[in-house]
Amino acid sequence: MSAPAIPARPGTAAFARRALRHPSFMAGALLSALVVAAALLSLVWTPWPPGDIDVMRKLQPPSAAHWLGTDAFGRDVASLLLAGARNSLLVGTVAVAVGLVFGAALGLLASARRGWVEEAIMRLTDFTFAFPALLSAIMMTAVFGPGLVVSIVAIGLFYVPVFARITRGSANAVWSREFVLAARAAGRGRLSITLEHVLPNIASVLIVQGTVHFALAILAEAALSYLGLGTQPPQPSWGRMLNDAQALLFQAPRLAVFPGIAIAVAVLGLNLLGDGLRDLLDPRLARRR
């Protein structure tokens, strides 16, 4: 016997129409697309090779040849910014994927099994909350040394308990809904209910939270790279560029402006996208705002 139908969702075309009329979603989508486009473009083309050092042309102001000028090593700032987008997107994607896959699995398990399993998983997440992302990343770099991979893993690991909690909270609400009770009465197993009913119904929450945490991962990676614990030279990174720029605040203050704007645009875009998605995927929340 098949389970009773899940409440109907609006079609893709209707969703697209609403999305196009949603200012926050559209602004977020445009800004995020800009960052993705910059990252993709840098794979095939940059005005100058990003790692190209030439001290003869160091600290040049913006010009037709170097749109945003050059840094202390004569590298083209615009090229570094374009290539830096790749790093930020990589960190966000992998960290959120790690947190989402393992966290959602733990959350779904806690919600499906309840009892001591749920209690154990939730207590485990309790004390991992004592370590903010930056602190857990610092612990990891103290052991494994600084680097992009270590910072991605550290941020991802910090996200596991975060997503476990979000998933378990939302999944518990779905488990008490009538259609799930009906499926259970029909003899469906916990795994099948989890995959067919619970997961699709909490997907929107996970998508929204994934977007928001993508932005937070970009901020965390920028902070780690600024401290010298994240991306290592010669790989370009926005946080690292800010660190280099701080030493030249008196000679070339503009160098401290562009990478910050790039980080802010990426984070703002993702936050607006997350806000928009939340409104579009859960209209009840939109009405309350």
């Binding site: 207590r123 485990l124 309790d126 004390f127 991992t128 909350f129 004592a130 370590f131 903010p132 992302a133 930056l134 602190l135 610092i138 612990m139 990891m140 770099t141 103290a142 052991v143 932005a215 901020l219 920028a222 902070a223 600024y226 401290l227 614990l229 946080g239 800010l242 720029a245 701080q246 605040l249 008196f250 203050p253 401290a256 402006v257 990478p259 910050g260 980080i263 802010a264 645009v265 984070v267 703002l268 936050n271 607006l272 309350r288 705002r289």
Partner: protein, 316 residues
Amino acid sequence: MKLFLLKRLATLVATLFGASVVVFLVLEILPGDAAQMMMGPDAAPEAVAALRAKLGLDRAPLERYAAWLVGMLTGELGTSHAYGTPVAGLIVERLALTVPLALMAMSMTVVLALSAGVYAASRHHRLGDVGVMGLTQVGIAIPNFWFAILLILLFAVNLRWFAAGGFPGWAEGAGPALKALVLPAVSLAVVQSAILARITRSAVLDVLREDFVRTARAKGLSRRAALWGHVLRNALVPVITVMGLQFATLLAGTIVVESVFYLPGLGRLIFQSISNRDLIVVRNCVMLLAAMVVVVNFVVDVLYAVIDPRLAPSDA
């Protein structure tokens, strides 16, 4: 209420214990030979062996963990490998900067966020609301260390009102010391208050729709008096929850901001200790920061019960 407090206290102790296990596993067991790691790959085997014996690494892990726990309770945290001084003394010295900085930043956050959040809610869907919400979106997107650099650019490089960094120490008097903390605190507070202002606005809007607010207004209470006297108190529960969570972010933020302003605080001590491979200092500092986060969340839980006594029994 007593049972509620006891349960929360038990959770606090269990969480601290769990956090200490994580810190010990990551910073003591995971590196394998911590002495080798601290001295680097080129160190002479005799020197590594001497450090291993000095740190007690030849003892069983459980014994070392127990010794560390006892040390934390008695204040005997060992000696820093890089500085050659007791870790407890180092930490206390650095806390004299980090604690005032965090408190200053949190106070600024609360004042800014509550004013902006209540103002935005009171102008719901009007220009003031849209303006404040737009600013908070930008505030959330700005990394605090970049904002700190922009503050240095404006107030230290251009206007020359503040120094670009450094800390004169409390011995020079409270005035110069506090002045050195103003820009770091502002850079932490502005970003944090952007998040808190949004939560405040949304919580105030929820309470404004309640019947008792309509009754209070119908009885002749002015809008301002109802807002600050009735609405804000009832909107505080979600606001305090986020404040508790934000304290953790703020403490982590001090690590970065202290580096921007070259402040000799706890964050900078951790950062320098990582560079020096001084794992004993890193372990104790990380544990201290984690303990601060856990204790603040405990205080928040207790505050809930004080603000809204209905929450205590239902949660107990």
